[in-house]
């Protein structure tokens, strides 16, 4: 009796789950409701204040970070949609306009084959496709993407669903590798463009991946990354919604001249949502070894902690406090981050 009651609650509440962590549904969402004609427009505004708590000669924080992004979707036909996400941000008195996403989604056989062509976030791991989830990503992301910011690039993604369901599908992608590093002002042809191959699984309660990602960008070293991860959304009768995520990565960075660096890293996130509050803790550890001629050097471990507390007074607004603490043989970050996130949607 109790088991069936709990199971019923679990199932009924799971459908209403939506992460309060500014979770942007992935553009590869396999939701069939998108087959209807719709014109959706989202306006997102973020204001961020960051305070470096270290006693240092400088406060190198990104104080007064402003970001406005505009995203939307337009359905030309049932099987052809256009999605976009533009943003402009101001950091340290410098403005930057970015085209995060602008791609066409073509689903000729919606149950078995889907294409996405254009500027889009790289579907590598579970963090990269979520804009503004946290103020910073773990440092080891630089080993994978050559930047710690979210990475988007011009390319083609093909999703193959052999069973006709998202419980198991294959994702292949290739990108130009020219514009996916927002930190760089230089553009050069990549020696080997970014390519990825993933096995994925999705449902209302979970998503999992196993990915092989490889690139050799201009001015960078050849990088190979293999990762696996899962995310679970759980619900219970008390309406306390736990959220669990774990990713494991192994990367190899090989220089043309000089030693190579191998890294193993994991990142995990545990979150709880209740009423208008959300609490989360992200923890990541990266361990690297540099191997040269007859030498092998163990680098200091890189550890990153992030605590998050969010209050959502209304559906369109979230006020969030983050504490970021990063150590690699010395304190690299000890920041308080205050964020206000506003979001309006028109349909």
């Amino acid at each position: 009796m109790w088991i069936s009651f709990l199971f019923f609650n679990f199932i009924s509440l799971a459908g209403t789950t939506q992460s309060a962590l500014s979770y942007r549904p992935q553009s590869s969402s396999l939701d069939s409701s998108r087959q209807e004609h719709q014109r959706t427009l989202d306006l997102n505004i973020e204001y961020r204040v960051q305070k470096d708590l270290r006693r240092r000669l400088a406060n190198n924080s990104e104080e007064g970070f402003h970001e406005i992004s505009l995203s939307g979707q337009y359905d030309f036909f049932n099987d052809l949609q256009f999605e976009f996400d533009f943003s402009t941000e101001k950091v340290d008195f410098q403005h930057q306009f970015k085209v995060n996403e602008a791609f066409l989604k073509w689903t000729p056989w919606v149950k078995n084959l889907r294409f996405r062509l254009g500027q889009q976030y790289l579907p590598v791991g579970l963090f990269n496709q979520r804009s503004n989830w946290f103020s910073t990503n773990p440092g080891f992301f630089r080993n994978i993407f050559a930047t710690t910011n979210e990475t988007s690039d011009l390319g083609l993604i093909v999703e193959i669903l052999p069973l006709g369901s998202p419980y198991f599908f294959l994702e292949l992608g290739t990108f130009l590798g020219r514009t996916n590093r927002s930190e760089d002002g230089r553009i050069g042809n990549s020696v080997r463009p970014p390519r990825l191959l993933s096995l994925k699984s999705k449902s209302k309660y979970h998503q999992s991946f196993l990915t092989h990602y490889q690139h050799h960008l201009a001015f960078r070293d050849e990088t190979t990354a293999i990762g696996a991860g899962s995310e679970f959304f759980l619900n219970n009768a008390l309406d306390i919604n736990p959220h669990l995520l774990i990713e494991v990565w192994r990367t190899e960075q090989e220089q043309t001249f000089g030693p190579k660096q191998q890294s193993e890293a994991f990142v995990t996130y545990v979150g709880l949502e209740w009423w208008k509050f959300a609490w989360g803790y992200r923890w990541s550890v990266a361990r690297s070894t540099v191997t040269g001629n007859e030498t092998s050097i163990q680098l200091p471990d890189e550890t990153n902690h992030l605590f998050m507390l969010e209050f959502k007074p209304v559906a369109q607004m979230a006020i969030r406090l983050e504490r970021v603490y990063e150590v690699q043989s010395e304190i690299l970050k000890n920041d308080w981050v205050g964020r206000a996130l506003l979001n309006w949607t028109w349909k």
């Binding site: 930190e183 001015f219 030693p259 690299l332």
Partner: protein, 222 residues
């Protein structure tokens, strides 16, 4: 008799071995072999390997590795440039003096003027004169050097003069560090250079220089 012969043969061989060992030691002493020592110097990061090359030249290799092949590093160096032609070279992101890879930042005194040369293997060395305040009246250089390698647009070098600022008769330390108040920022100057081959060590090479401090801090510029 055979036993006596055996003993005398052993004694002879021991004698020849001793002579050979003496010659080897003597010859080794005559050769200009660099003196190597792994020591902890006061005012420096622990675990350094110092090599004295003769001619008032020395090489210091810091054995505690950097954060990675791609990293942002902040160094503090204090040294006295004793002669008009003294120079001090900071090697960052390199694997040792044998490879000489990574980034090289050389502070070169020319009389009362101080120059900084920045270079990487295979790239043209670029020179920039530094303001006179970089050298104190006793030719002491106190400098903060931040190097970003592999994490942003090529290599970025940022320099701050860490000598005490004098306001009247009061000495004031630098109050804040950022890219805005840097004395040299290669990104602002538009210098573009990459390092072909990077490592995870750092070191200091000197000529007619006395080093008083050399250590690292967490980077200041994102």
């Amino acid at each position: 008799m055979q036993l006596v012969d055996g003993n005398s043969r052993d004694m002879a061989s021991n004698f020849y071995f001793a002579v050979l060992f003496f010659c080897l030691v003597t010859l080794q002493g005559c050769a200009p072999e660099p003196l190597k020592s792994t020591t902890s110097h006061e005012g420096m990061e622990a675990h350094v390997m110092t090599t004295l090359l003769g001619g008032n030249q020395s090489q210091i290799l810091f054995l505690k590795p950097l954060k990675g092949l791609d990293s942002r590093e902040h160094f503090r160096v204090s040294a006295r440039l004793l002669r008009p032609q003294s120079n001090l070279t900071l090697h960052s992101h390199f694997m040792g003096y044998k490879n000489r890879d990574g980034v090289q930042i050389r502070f070169r005194r020319d009389g009362d003027q101080l120059y900084v040369d920045v270079g990487t293997p295979g790239a043209i060395r670029q020179t920039h004169p530094l303001p006179t305040g970089f050298l104190s009246s006793d030719f002491t250089l106190r400098v903060r050097i931040e190097i970003h390698d592999g994490v942003s647009t090529g290599i970025r070098l940022i320099l701050w003069n860490d000598n005490q600022k004098f306001v009247g008769t009061t000495e004031l330390p630098i109050k804040f560090l950022s890219s805005a108040n840097a004395d040299l920022d290669t990104l602002r100057l538009g210098w573009i250079f990459n390092s072909h081959g990077r490592g995870v060590f750092w070191g200091i090479e000197t000529q007619y220089v006395t080093i008083t401090n050399a250590d690292r801090e967490a980077p200041y510029v994102d």
